[in-house]
Amino acid sequence: MISIYSFLLETLTAINAAPSFTVIEAVLSASMQEMDVSVWRGDASGGGLEHFRVPAEESQTILDVVAWIQQYADPTLSYRYACRVGMCGSCAMMVNGVPRWTCRTHVKKVLKDNAITIEPLRNLPVIKDLAADMDPFFDKWVAAGGVHHPTKTRNEPIEILDPKTPERVETDTGIECINCSVCYAACDTVSSNVDFLGPAALQRAWTIYLDPKDADPNVILDAVSGKGGCHNCHSQGSCTLHCPNGLNPMKAIAGLKRATVASFFKGGR
């Protein structure tokens, strides 16, 4: 766009009819597209949306928009990111009401009526502005039994696993989780039940339950069948729909439901 105006300007100068400086400015700013960006500002005690005009660019991500605001409009804006390529799981926010990785969400995919709303992840306490407190999410990861219970010591040879067993094939569909909490923010059961372990933690528990190297799968079944366990899930599938990695926590939770019920009927617990 700008090049068209500079071309026009050059032509006008050439024929000695250059418009005044204010006219050029007006033309330039009209040619530079700006978006209306509403950003949630505040902390644990409350807050609200603040509005910014942000210049539109080619191939711009939501994280670019947040960074622009922080660098050029308000340096006090707090947010979190690290890898900016969808590996670290730290940049997730609510974008127009939907949880997303901001680093892998293109503006042109979500821009509606030239406006975007960016808020901290749902279902988690806010630290400040766009930075949500991930502690409850990680605590539940541990509470769901998502820790390996070893069968061997480091002095024994490494156990060889067959990658083609049905258990391993199923496990493979659940291990690419990067702990971003997008599924956790999408889940209505998490919002209505503070104890619910949530999709990511339960999916992690499921993959460990399937691991033949795990010493005590029953510990996992106990951990996932309590008050906040897998049976709280209503199979709404928002976790699966929104997971940016294309994982399927709803399927993993259904697996845990089957395993816990089977263990119950086998006279287990």
Binding site: V98, P99, A185, S235, Q236, G237, S238, H242, G255, K257
Partner: protein, 113 residues
């Protein structure tokens, strides 16, 4: 308005299941109360059945049969999702549950009029 993170078929299926479940919980006590007339006060039951011949009531009955059918098929769908081997066709199954419920309720309606 359904909030953006919820606007997808399986969430709507969940909403339908909850509303139909609550609808049934409200309706069934009334239903049993009226049925009890058959034993205690047959004249009152007859009076009620005449009232039930009213076309508007027939339409309402269509709604109730639909509620029951959509809850039963939706419930069977959930049980299949949770207890049978995983199938990736969940949206199709949810839509089929609603279609089957329309079929049952529609057939009931045509029988009733």
């Amino acid at each position: 308005m359904i909030r953006p993170h919820r606007s997808h078929p399986l969430w709507i299926a969940y909403l339908l299941h909850r509303l139909s479940g609550l609808g049934l919980a409200l309706f069934l006590p009334v239903h049993f109360y009226v049925l009890a007339f058959a034993l205690n006060e047959p004249e009152r039951l007859d009076g009620f059945l005449r009232f039930a011949d009213n076309p508007l009531v027939k339409i309402a009955e269509f709604g109730l049969v639909f509620l029951l059918a959509v809850h039963v098929f939706g419930g069977l769908r959930l049980l299949a999702l949770e207890f049978l081997p995983w199938s990736p066709r969940q949206k199709t199954l949810a839509a089929s549950a609603v279609a089957a419920a329309f079929l049952v309720a529609g057939t009931f309606f045509l029988q009733a009029v």
